[in-house]
Symmetry: C2
Subunit: 248 residues, 2 copies
């Protein structure tokens, strides 16, 4: 890993308090990959050999429901050119710059529970799992930072789980749009959607078609979307719809 990348790493809270010696070890033993969109970083069941730190781009953790490809009929031969077929899949979490993937698998030394796919071309630092496990053992401040990070993720996931269990797809969509407005409580907003429809649908736990329909359903409360541009007339109105209880 080159020095510029190391400096970027060192700015992430997880690594901020590391002593020089440890940083040197990171610089020596880690490396950086450039991955194009759609690349698969690892698959469900792989053993956790690296901590992935996203330097730029976006990566999703993806769980899929279909059986693995090997026991499908060979008749179709439709799998040319990576046309991955149409298994349903669910995006569990999305990671952006300065975030860390796979920490749980590395801490527990267990195989990955989910696959990781690149959503936007990404530069990713790969740090050998052993180094991370040593850090956890030797460096109290690193262990503390990891705890804080995992606690945040626990809250993210439990919030998502709650949404999934008791809100409608349309409400989840609205809530998602609200997260893209960076916390304003009222007034209009122009939103640049960072994901395409397929990805958004996986993230929200619905089909692409239903996502389109949900988008249409939000029109009456002042939400319009066109491709990757969306507009909200009055954030307060959307909040009232999404954060309230199961109407309609």
């Amino acid at each position: 890993m080159n020095h510029a990348d190391l400096m970027a790493l060192a700015k992430i809270p997880l690594f901020a308090d590391l002593p020089i010696a440890k940083l040197d070890e990171l610089e020596e033993k880690s490396f950086v990959q450039q991955q194009p969109s759609e690349a698969v970083l690892f698959e469900q069941g792989d053993s956790a050999r690296f901590l992935c730190v996203i330097l730029s781009g976006r990566v999703a953790l993806v769980g899929s429901s279909k059986a693995p490809a090997e026991d499908l009929q060979e008749e179709h031969t439709k799998d040319e050119a990576g046309c991955a077929g149409h298994d349903r899949e669910a995006i569990i979490e999305i990671f952006g710059p300065n975030e860390v993937v796979t920490i749980a698998a590395i801490v527990l030394n267990l195989p990955y529970l989910m696959s990781a796919r690149v959503l936007e071309a990404a530069r990713i630092a790969l740090i050998p799992a052993d180094i991370i496990r040593d850090l956890l053992q030797d460096d109290a401040s690193f262990a503390r930072a990891t705890t804080v990070m995992l606690a945040k993720h626990w809250r993210l996931l439990s919030r998502q789980l709650k949404d999934q269990k008791l809100r409608s797809g349309t409400q989840r969509l609205g809530t998602y749009l609200l997260t893209l407005t960076e916390g304003r409580m009222s007034g209009p907003a122009d939103i640049a959607l960072p994901l395409d429809r397929r990805t958004m649908a996986s993230w929200l736990g619905m089909s692409v078609e239903n996502l389109s329909r949900s988008l249409a359903q939000l029109k009456p409360i002042g939400v319009t979307a066109n491709g990757r541009a969306a507009h909200i007339n009055d954030i307060a109105q959307v909040r009232a719809f999404c954060l309230e209880d199961g109407l309609r």
Copy 2:
């Protein structure tokens, strides 16, 4: 907290490596509550003042969809005698003996994201949040144990989220029954259901009525249930139905 309870605490991985001095501090500053079924330990939005360690019984983290009470109309006055009305609610996680609730809120020093309700009369040790935060700061081994615990919970939640996003209610029910068979892969099983229908339904993310119907749907593959007793004719058959993707 009395000495016997402290000894029970000390057997939990989280506290196993604590030095005597810290244990003494725990004994002095913590206390134990006996809570009946249905008791509410804390509510969504409360600030996190104690770590709750379950000594016996069971506790659920519950998210509800209704807006918080303060902005409801006062007309109904239906809230007499704790008749909680019929808001839908979702159980996010269920904790049993030797498990710890609220660790994330305490680590982050943020208000609870969810309420906690007792499912089975429980003895609960309450440890002041300050002590836990001090331990995280001073005791590397405690920080490490916390990390391991949170990592496990991350995996539990992400698995649940995946189930919720891409499996049917009936499949989730089957999967739940399988977890109660303690990992056998085939053969028959008699199961004692630890939860009533309402709680099971919240846990599985469906209505009580649908739970009954899902149970009926499992009959053709050899699952029968009567009250809190269930029986599976052949575990392998249920696995085939629920785990189309082979994980778990």
